[in-house]
């Protein structure tokens, strides 16, 4: 990998930060405000897209800004892993922005300016997390994400939302502090915090017991955002937020920042050699496997659609963590691919849940009988995404699961392989009943008798184009990326590049 100086990563972080300022300034002119959001999303995506060919050509854009602490620079580096995550989150920000406009206006929500401004800051932090070249830079953006998400979680300002916000802060701030301690300790031991493919923390820099403690600290810091059990409690509670927030943040940015942190720490701080020497990845794998199954089982119990999706998220995040913990070429690539596939599919599902809420004011699964007749496009997209999450070909969920399974076999871990299969079945198990209700059952006869005929006629079709188009796009993306995993964004090549770099210590 050769490094070259470039400001592109900085602009990619800064453009949405600048946009948040513009959004606040144009609070009285909603159209201008939404223009800033959408244009920042477009610019950000374009900037990150220009980094993809460079990353594929083993050239890494790097921007050293200034010393943020003595000996540690605030550095952004667009390595393949960073580009991968930044690409996923910025691409989905575009569709989410469109969707947010439709959703927030459709429900005439209050404080839309704060909402869009915080959203922009969240995206800056997420891309900052992706491009952070050392642990301190990473922690700074990680904490910024926590704070910027808080106003979105409590957006409704109801007592439940406020208490969900408290729970969210209690989990994530604690995790941030733990991560800070781990970072400081690492700096104290090694004198460097620079991420390196294959890791920089090993037996030569720290005694084994210290490494174990550090791993525990790092993982508990990362596990909160990646919702690894038993630290997952905040995620279902945070579903009180408006649906686009759940979609982007609790399916793409925040939780993905958590699993991204896991991959960074596993691959670029400790490295496969240290982990397997200490046997640490086994514990991580056990925890992830357990979470995968438990969360899927718990998902069966949820009648609230968003909560079921939340538990499904917890389960699927553990696919990614388990893939990273298996430490084989295929499992690492599969883990990254699943990061992207889960993002497109889960965002589709949340978009659908939001569309149902906007159009029919339905939030419970038990109310969904026959909704596919009313909202065929929406429920079609829902079907595509949920089948994808169950791992059916030719959707992208199948591709990533294929590599994850392959990785489990490479690692000679039939148990992990079996767990992947079982979790796939469980996913099918908790999604198919929804599809059955929506497509095969007749609408409930006494459904909402109080509604006037006018309103019924109004709600008898898909939601507005601002809402329906984004969810169709993400569903289509799931399909296209399943058929051609390398199309458009080179996810497949990037994922394999990352897994090579981690396992071969940076040499291609």
């Amino acid at each position: 990998m050769e490094t070259y100086g470039s400001w592109v990563p900085v602009w990619a972080v800064a453009c949405s930060l600048a946009a948040s300022g513009m959004i606040l300034a144009s609070s009285r002119r909603p159209n201008l405000r939404e223009f800033w959001t959408l244009s920042a999303a477009g610019v950000k995506f374009a900037l990150i897209l220009t980094l993809v060919p460079e990353a594929l050509a083993h050239r890494v854009a790097e921007a050293r800004l200034f010393a943020i602490a003595p000996g540690i620079d605030l550095t952004l580096r667009a390595d393949p892993l960073g580009v991968f995550f930044a690409l996923v989150s910025s691409a989905l920000w575009i569709v989410t922005s469109c969707y947010s406009v439709g959703y927030m206006r459709g429900l005439s929500e209050h404080k839309q300016t704060r909402y869009f401004a915080c959203f922009a800051v969240c995206l800056s932090s997420t891309v900052g997390i992706a491009f952070a070249a050392n642990l301190l830079t990473f922690v700074i953006f990680y904490e910024m994400l926590t704070i910027a998400t808080y106003p979105l979680v409590i957006h409704k300002e109801t007592p439940e939302a406020v208490s969900a916000g408290r729970k969210y802060l209690a989990y994530t701030l604690t995790a941030g502090v733990v991560l800070l301690v781990a970072t400081a300790w690492t700096y104290e031991l090694t004198g460097t915090l620079e991420f390196r493919p294959g890791g920089f923390l090993g037996s030569e820099t720290a005694p084994a017991a210290t490494c174990v403690w550090l791993f525990v600290l790092f993982m508990s810091g990362a596990a909160v955002k990646s919702a690894l059990m038993p630290l997952h409690g905040w995620l279902p509670t945070a579903m009180i937020a408006p649906t686009p927030v759940s979609a982007l943040l609790h399916a793409v940015a925040v939780v993905k920042a958590g699993v991204f942190a896991v991959i960074r720490i596993v691959g670029f701080v400790f490295g496969p050699a240290t982990l397997s020497a200490l046997g640490l990845q086994t514990y991580l794998a056990c925890l992830a496997g357990l979470t995968m199954i438990l969360a899927s089982v718990l998902a069966f119990h949820q009648d609230n659609l968003k909560r079921r999706l939340a538990y499904s998220t917890i389960g699927h995040l553990s696919y990614i963590v388990l893939g990273a913990a298996l430490l084989t070429p295929a499992s690492l690539a599969g883990s990254l691919l699943h990061l992207a596939s889960h993002a497109t599919m889960k965002i589709t599902l949340f978009f659908c849940a939001g569309a149902l809420h906007v159009q029919l004011h339905k939030e419970k699964i038990s109310e969904l009988d026959g909704v596919a007749r009313q909202m065929p496009w929406t429920m079609g997209a829902f079907a595509v995404a949920s089948l994808g999450l169950a791992g059916l070909p030719p959707l992208n969920g199948f591709v990533s699961k294929w590599y994850l399974g392959l990785g489990a076999l490479q690692a000679a871990q039939p148990l992990a392989f079996a767990l992947f299969l079982l979790a796939g079945l469980l996913s099918a198990g908790y999604f198919l009943p929804i599809l059955y209700r929506a497509f095969c059952r007749a609408p409930q006869p006494e459904a909402e008798p109080s509604q006037t005929p006018h309103q019924e006629g109004d709600s008898g079709h898909d939601a507005s184009a601002w809402i329906t188009f984004p969810l169709l796009i993400t569903a289509a993306l799931s399909l296209i990326l399943g058929l051609f995993p390398n199309l458009l964004f080179h996810f497949w090549s990037l994922a394999h590049l990352v897994s090579d770099s981690i396992l071969n210590g940076g040499s291609p």
Binding site: I68, A69, M144, V162, L173, V181
Partner: protein, 496 residues
């Protein structure tokens, strides 16, 4: 010519300002404020220019009245002293700018003496910082303390009692320090800091110097409100006027902490390492951090909450000093700056709230406050996030250096305390932020609304210092590496 006299210039100009402002103020009321602005403004510039000069050309020493030390009184302008003076005068200047409207509201009759006393307070503090003489330090300590008692006493109805309590305890502290100086003089025959430092290692035994050190640590510990010697602080800060506590809280206790560093590291140095001063400071600081934070959670008045939070934050500084390591020193000194700026912002915001709503009680706060004063609330939020220690604000980096220092000393419980205290801070600050931003205004239990004639933000002379300090919290965070590399690292005492 001026350059040569420069070390003494800052305390002298503030003292002169204090003296001049009274007759001028009695002649024309507004002149006293003008003098205060000029004196503090001048001292900020002098401190800034001086710091720049000293960083380039090395420390400067000045013998008062031409008497060479150790006989005469010496002033020392080294990077650390000028850095702390810059903090003191900078915050002092911001508060002076702010003070006009708040004083008009809270104590309309006595703004002339108030300005004079505030200048005296700042003069005392800057004298404490700049002096190189142990007894002269006592003199300035008393000047600053007496001024501080007056600043407290000028507050609301219950203030005189708080001031009396502060006076009694503060005098005990000052006397302890003076006794210590006496013992040290008995042992060494000198009062000049550099001279005493040179003599100490030559002494046959350290009985007297050790007694002296213990007394001085206790005295200064009381002045810096180190747990359990903090009991005077909450009442004093709560019942002082808004401006009074904005002068006192950000810098008052910090200068005592600075004096502690000077005495322990600068005068005693390696000689004192036989005494467990560091361990004692660490224990007291940890207790202060925990007790202060927990007590802060239980308060229903914003100023009182901030006062308890000061007890906790002084604990951070004490912890950094007590670790007696370069990193701990960096953490402590950086936190002197960070906490001064954050606490100044918070106290000024609470003063602005008092100005607009007539109360600083937390319980009735609701989102009308944020709607009336969006910028003030934003400054409060930034300073609060910094107190919690979230990046990229200044507070995060204090925590970073202190955590590194604790890790270097391999004291895990201390690391845990730093982590925990950050979460405790989050609890009590989010308690306020939640009310400020999220609680819907309700007619019957809410705060009395702003007077209809002048709704909205506090006047510009109050708002601008708040905003500049709030911005400072962010900028200091981003520039902390620069500050540490260019200033604080040069000030690390040789013995550490």
């Amino acid at each position: 010519m001026i350059g040569e006299h420069f070390p003494v210039l800052i305390p002298v100009s503030l003292l002169v300002g204090a003296v001049v402002s009274v007759p001028l103020g009695l002649w024309r009321g507004s002149l006293s404020r003008l003098v205060a602005l000029l004196a503090t403004g001048f001292s900020v510039v002098a401190a800034g220019v001086g710091l720049r000069h000293v960083l380039r050309a090395g420390e400067m020493r000045y013998s008062l009245g031409g008497w060479p030390p150790p006989i005469g009184i010496e002033y020392v302008a080294d990077p650390l002293a000028l850095f702390v003076v810059l903090v003191v005068t900078g915050v002092g200047f911001a508060v002076t700018v702010y003070s006009k409207r708040s004083l008009e509201r809270e104590s309309p009759q006595n703004h002339v003496p108030f300005n004079a006393v505030a200048l005296l307070f700042l003069a005392g503090l800057s004298g404490m910082v700049m002096t190189g003489d142990l007894f002269n330090l006592y003199v300035f300590l008393e000047i600053a303390s007496l001024a501080a008692y007056a600043l407290v006493a000028a507050g609301e109805k219950r203030a005189p009692v708080a001031a009396f309590r502060y006076l009694v305890l503060g005098t005990v502290g000052a006397s302890c320090y003076l006794l210590g100086v006496g013992f040290l003089y008995l042992a060494t025959g000198s009062l000049n800091m550099a001279d005493v430092r040179a003599i100490l290692p030559l002494l046959p035994h350290y009985r007297l110097p050790f007694i002296a050190l213990c007394l001085m640590v206790i005295g200064l510990g009381l002045k810096m409100a180190l747990f359990p010697l903090h009991v005077w602080l909450p009442d004093a800060y709560t019942y002082a006027s808004s401006v009074g506590s904005a002068y006192l809280a950000p810098v008052g206790t910090k200068v005592a902490a600075y004096a502690l560093m000077r005495v322990w590291f600068g005068v005693f140095g390696p000689v004192a390492y036989a005494l467990p001063i560091g361990a004692m400071l660490v224990v007291a600081s940890v207790a202060g951090i925990l007790v202060g934070s927990i007590m802060a959670m239980a308060q229903n008045d914003l100023k009182r909450m901030l006062a308890y939070s000061s007890v906790a934050q002084v604990g951070y500084i004490g912890l950094g000093i007590g670790l007696a390591s370069p990193l701990g020193f960096i953490g402590a000194v950086l936190h002197i700056l960070n906490h001064a700026v954050m606490k100044a912002t918070l106290f000024l915001v609470s003063g602005a709230l008092a100005y607009r709503f007539g109360t600083t009680s937390i319980l009735p706060m609701d989102d009308r406050l944020r709607r009336a004063m969006p910028w003030t609330s934003a400054a409060f939020a930034v300073a609060a996030l910094s107190m919690i220690g979230l990046p990229p604000t200044a507070g995060f980096f204090s925590k970073w250096y202190l955590a590194l220092a604790c890790l270097k000393a391999e004291s895990w419980p201390l690391v845990a305390v730093i982590a925990l205290s950050s979460l405790l801070n989050a609890v009590y600050f989010f308690r306020v932020l939640e009310r400020m931003y999220l609680r819907k205004a309700s007619a019957e239990e809410g705060i009395p609304g702003p007077p209809a004639s002048n709704p909205g933000e506090a006047p510009p002379s109050m708002l601008i210092p708040i905003l500049i300090l709030g911005l400072g919290v962010l900028l200091i965070g981003l520039a902390n590496a620069w500050i540490v590399e260019k200033v604080i690292k040069l000030a690390i005492p040789s013995g550490l």
